[in-house]
Amino acid sequence: MNDIPADLHYTTKHEWLRRLPNGQVEIGISDYAQNALGDLVFVEVPEIGRRLRAGEACAVVESVKAASDVYSPISGTVVAGNAELASHPELVNLEPYTAGWLMRMEIDAPEPTLLDADAYAKHLAIQVR
């Protein structure tokens, strides 16, 4: 079944968000999302310094099958992109919540309400029914 770590926050579009000790946030796609996409072969992360609004398309993950947009869960500024993914996009499949992170951001607006792990699990249950 899908791995949904309890300490992360989620969106209905299958992004996760982790609060880092320095106040920044780390963002990626959920285990459910990587599994639905299949083997990833290309990942494009946003450039450092790019300002994003919550819900804005900011990254692209491409599997053998199709390209999918990733949407920013929050409004803020990109401070880092995961450069490892350029040569190892499969990290998103293997370690979606750790080595497969996509970007880190500085939040510059109040956070919209995100789902906790329980709410995201319920969202998935409805989605696959």
Binding site: G38, V60, V64, K65, A67
Partner: protein
């Protein structure tokens, strides 16, 4: 819920991810599409291709009918079991379907057609069958497995009886033969050697299990698509359909204009187009990171065209695609991906066959 092959439950038990394909519930992959692709290029894999339609045509005038219905000339098939790839064309030269035809005897041919075009094909063939007094028998009683890869034949042979093994071992490429209740053909859709085996539906699960026991990996439709694209083979409904003729679909080699006295559906239209057609199919290899996809624009100094199939090629570790472009396009092109231009090379397919890249001697580099 879609149509299901006799192996549907087997796929579920093997952990397949199921998708709809032409109305059929088929396995997309059994875990990793890329690993499945490598299994076929490097070792051996088995595909359930029972969704494809097997149609037997029988009658004294079946040869005459097929010489009219198919753009390739079935009169070239002289020995029983011999197969031919052909397009079936409308009067204006549009591709109704592409198919494999087997010559099984003077009054018996067997067609293998695409799943998504089954009804259309049966209607088209049926409209001629009555005229030629040919019997059309859809073989829904048969399942079909494809075993492909450098070790596919060696791993399959032990499942046969000693006599059958000798026959199967001697099959030349594009030949098939009956072995008991099975029909084994040395054909495929991957660019690798191997067999396609037609068996009574009730024997399919046992055959699948025996092949798996020979350490042959199960392969889904996802890898089937990347393998066929690397092999430079068209997918009906994607690279061509009734709005395109074979000459602009990379399939001129399958149209038998000789002998000139043979009339076939689409001939008159193609005869005119033969000198005047303006577009052709080419292969593209993306020089940069990214993935080619259907309907992306591709440009060169000669004009622009569209990608018809695009994917990531596990064998080349680069993105490849087929594109319909103005004739004479290349050797360099640019593809628009999400608003940005990316450099690509124009090559003559295939991209990969028999386990290796085949584009090094394509003449694409200046």
């Amino acid at each position: 819920m879609g149509l299901k092959t006799p192996l549907y439950v087997t796929h579920l038990k093997s952990g397949a991810k199921i998708i709809d394909f032409g109305g059929w519930d088929m396995p997309l992959h059994y875990g990793s599409q890329v690993n499945e692709h490598h299994s076929v290029r490097r070792d051996a894999g088995v595909f359930d291709v029972s969704h494809m339609a097997i149609i037997d045509l029988k009658g004294a005038r079946v040869l005459d009918m097929l010489r009219y219905l198919l753009a390739n000339d079935v009169d070239r098939l002289k020995s029983p079991g011999k197969a031919l790839y052909s397009c079936m064309l409308s009067a204006d030269g549009g591709v109704i379907d592409d198919l494999i035809v087997f010559y099984l005897g003077p009054t018996w041919f067997r067609l293998v057609v695409n799943a998504g075009t089954r009804d259309k094909d049966l209607a088209w063939i049926g409209s001629y069958a009555s005229r030629f007094a040919v019997q059309v028998i859809e073989r829904i009683d048969l399942a079909m497995l494809a075993v492909q890869g450098p070790n596919a034949i060696a791993k399959t042979l032990p499942l046969l009886t000693p006599e059958s093994r000798q026959i199967a071992l001697q099959l030349a490429p594009f030949m098939g033969c009956f072995v008991g209740s099975w029909f084994i053909a040395r054909t495929g859709y991957t660019g690798e050697d191997g067999f396609e085996i037609m068996v009574p539906a009730e024997e399919a699960a046992a055959l699948w299990a025996s092949l798996r026991a020979q350490d042959i990996a199960p392969i889904g439709l996802g890898a089937r698509d990347t393998l066929r694209l690397e092999a430079g083979m068209n997918l009906y409904g994607q690279d061509m359909d009734e709005s395109y003729h074979p000459l602009e679909s990379g399939l001129a080699w399958t149209v038998a204009f000789d002998p000139p006295e043979r009339d076939f559906s689409g001939r008159v239209a193609l005869q005119t187009l033969r000198t005047s057609y303006t577009r052709e199919m080419v292969g593209l290899v993306l020089n940069e990171r990214g993935v080619l996809r259907r309907d992306q624009r591709v440009m060169s100094s000669l004009g622009e065209g569209l990608v018809t199939s695009g994917t990531y090629s596990p064998t080349l570790n680069a993105s490849i695609g087929l594109a319909r472009v103005p004739r004479g396009f290349g050797p360099n092109a640019q593809v628009e991906i999400r608003g940005k231009l990316h450099a690509a090379r124009v090559i003559k397919p295939p991209f990969a066959r028999y386990g290796k890249s085949s584009i090094h001697n394509s003449g694409s580099t200046p």
